[in-house]
């Protein structure tokens, strides 16, 4: 078990390094391929009003003329040990973990990310609970009642669910339930959990349901397919032959095996959501990480965009690491192979 954990940790760290390289590449190498000059990149850091001399100076100070590998080294060092940005007019401190320093907002990106974290986390956790419970139970019932009206109805709904963009269902839900019927609060409502838990849940209800609907559809389809496969296995027949109750056969033997691929998917999906439920947050104007990313793009605030991308990627890695470790704990075959 220990070797497995160590191996998996090394894998996760390698993945984080690759991700930091790709992120760095997107922001510093791709623009150059597309013909952007160091000055053009520096002007995105100082704002559009700066004179060519200032831009040139900033480009020099920020090291945009250095070889790519040196720049990457500086970028990676900042995350581990913190960094100082000397852009001519003064030195800005960016303590570790330095996910970049925004010259537009005039502060490091990391605290901003932490501020917005609770919104996205609240959104993801509630939705995840709903979609796992809903998706898996509908999938199981559909598989057990294969071919019945219930199966067709739920699978039809699930197919519609995966075909609907969330920004469309989100807007419709707002039009109907918030502005039409007045049952739910309008877009942009957010209360911190510590302030008023009931209000927190009430405000998030609509985003939770909309987001969960989209994912539940995928999970229902997957669970149904997995259940149909495992219920045909020999060991399920053996379990029945032993005289176990149908409930035990379904839950302990069928569902348990069918859930394995779903657990993996859940790890990735949840990690991705924490990293930024961009579409949901934009649709419901929730002040989370996804909205932060979009605002940063609109303001052309590259350090902020880069910070949020890196942050998002870290969550996927961490979430899939946790899932893998859980796996190894539940299923001995994983850690022994």
């Amino acid at each position: 078990m220990l070797t497995y954990i160590i191996r998996r940790f090394i894998g996760a760290i390698a993945m984080l390094i690759v991700i930091s390289m790709v992120t760095f590449g997107i922001f510093f190498v791709v623009p150059q391929w597309a013909g952007s000059t160091p000055e053009a990149m520096a002007s995105r850091y100082v704002g559009r009003a700066a004179t060519p001399e200032t831009v040139h100076l900033v480009a020099q100070k920020l090291g945009f003329y250095d070889p790519v590998i040196v720049q990457y080294g500086r970028f990676a060092k900042g995350i581990v040990a913190g960094a100082e940005y000397d852009y001519g007019a003064g030195v800005e401190q960016c303590p570790a973990p330095c996910f970049g320093y925004s010259f537009i907002s005039g502060q490091p990106v990391w605290p901003d990310l932490l501020d917005r974290m609770p919104v996205t986390f609240s959104l993801a956790i509630g939705a995840a609970l709903l979609w796992v419970l809903g998706g898996v139970s509908v999938g199981v019932l559909s598989a057990l009642r294969r071919g019945t009206f219930f199966d067709r109805l739920s699978m039809g709904t699930a197919l519609a669910g995966v075909s609907l963009p969330i920004f469309f269902t989100g807007m419709l839900s707002l039009v109907v339930f918030s502005y039409g019927l007045g049952w739910t609060p309008p877009g942009g409502s957010w209360t911190d959990f510590t302030e008023n838990p009931a209000q927190w849940a009430y405000n998030l209800l609509l985003p939770w349901i909309t987001l969960a609907f989209l994912f539940a559809a995928t999970y229902a389809r997957l669970t149904r397919a997995g259940m149909l496969e495992t219920m045909g296995e020999d060991y399920v027949r053996t379990a029945r032959a032993k005289g176990l109750t149908e409930r035990d056969v379904v839950v302990k033997h069928g569902l348990r095996a069918a859930l394995t691929p779903i657990l993996t998917l859940f790890g990735i999906d949840f990690g991705l959501l924490i990293g930024g439920a961009v579409l949901t947050e934009t649709t419901y104007t929730l002040p989370g990480l996804g909205q932060f990313a979009i605002l940063a793009i609109r303001n052309q605030d590259l350090p902020q965009v880069m910070g949020v991308v890196l942050f998002a990627a870290c969550f996927v890695v961490v979430a899939s690491l946790i899932v893998d470790l859980l796996y190894a704990w539940v299923d001995p075959r994983v850690r022994l192979s």
Binding site: V18, I19, W33, L159, A160, M171, G271, V278, L279
Partner: protein, 330 residues
């Protein structure tokens, strides 16, 4: 993966008496694609999806003549249709009429019907081209990993894991956001379309890659590949003449299922304002404009329905195609 012959069909043609009399037809060998077509023909839902897909593609290809015939140019303002005090359409139901089939947009009065038809072109173009990109990358990677195995498989396998665990949307947003207005010898929306095709295709190849790798792994061990090898065929010959033709069916199926995902991806990017730039009409872009007009549900409804119908049609057709090629699904 070759499907077993459809027994019910061939049994009739090979009735013993017909063989005895010698008058009946000989047992026909049927190709996989013909068997699949026979199954698909019986699947009403998939056929409906397929017909819708063909219609949508035709609408997209002939979008300009269609708009010239029954609409107004998608970028043309129609202030006469707008109530200047509220900036909302004058007519009922958002200004729907014989002349403006789906009504007009608030504020500037552009013809929604024309914009949706023009949006179909962009959506399908990007969705299909991006899928082609991922099919090419995915097939090459999958075949190399599956056929050669060893360290090539290790590296490509890890690469696919990395890509599948990437926060795609955030990355694509970031990439789309840093694209300059000019570059690679293109500019404006031409550059943006090319970049979107590349970004979407580049991030979605691993799903195809995995399927192709798995299929290649099992094909590599098949008798006909052994036979070719023992006859002295080189790797190149085996790959292109023995393995690739057998990969066509799964590639076709998963490409069909990838197109709707990519269409949703494009719509999401345009909705977020990092896709195709306005005023060029896109479904996602129309929805993001509709956000400000909650009192006009039709403005939200039509572009949303356009996305929904297109994606659903491709999904239904793709599902049917998969069932037709994979007999175990029955």
């Amino acid at each position: 993966m070759t499907a077993p012959l459809d027994v019910s069909g061939s049994a009739q043609e090979a009735r013993p008496e017909s063989v005895l009399t010698g008058a009946g037809k000989a047992v026909q060998g049927r190709s996989l694609s013909r068997i699949a077509w026979m199954r698909l023909r019986r699947d009403k839902v998939a056929l409906a999806g397929g017909i819708t897909v063909i219609l949508l593609v035709l609408i997209a290809i002939f979008s300009t003549p269609i708009i010239n015939l029954i609409g107004h140019p998608p970028l043309e303002f129609h202030q006469d249709q707008i109530d200047q005090s509220t900036l909302l359409p004058k007519g009922d139901f958002g200004g729907m009429s014989g002349e403006y089939l789906l009504g007009v947009e608030p504020v500037n009065g552009r013809d929604i019907f024309s914009r949706i038809v023009a949006g179909a072109w962009i959506s399908l173009l990007i969705g299909i081209l991006a899928t082609l990109v991922s099919v090419v990358i995915g097939t090459v990677m999958g075949v190399i990993a599956g056929y050669y195995g060893g360290w090539a498989d290790q590296i490509i396998g890890r690469l696919m894991d990395v890509f599948l665990a990437f926060p795609l949307l955030v990355f694509a947003i970031a990439l789309a956001g840093v694209i300059p207005d000019k570059g690679f010898g293109l500019e404006g929306n031409g550059l943006r379309i090319a970049m979107l095709v590349f970004i979407i295709g580049f991030f979605s190849w691993p799903s195809i890659g995995r399927i192709v790798r798995g299929q290649t792994l099992s094909l590599r061990e098949r008798e006909f590949v052994d036979a070719a090898r023992s006859l002295g065929a080189r790797n190149g010959y085996i790959l292109f003449r023995e393995i690739l033709p057998n990969l066509m069916a799964p590639i076709l199926v998963y490409a069909t299922l990838l197109i709707p995902t990519n269409i949703l991806f494009e719509a999401a990017l345009s909705f977020l304002g990092v896709g195709i730039n306005p005023p060029t009409p896109t479904w996602g872009g129309m929805l993001s404009e509709a956000v400000r007009f909650y009192t006009l549900p039709h403005f939200v409804l039509f572009p949303g329905l356009a996305i929904f119908i297109t994606v659903l049609a491709f999904n239904l057709f793709g599902d049917g195609l998969r069932d037709a090629f994979d007999p175990r699904a029955h």
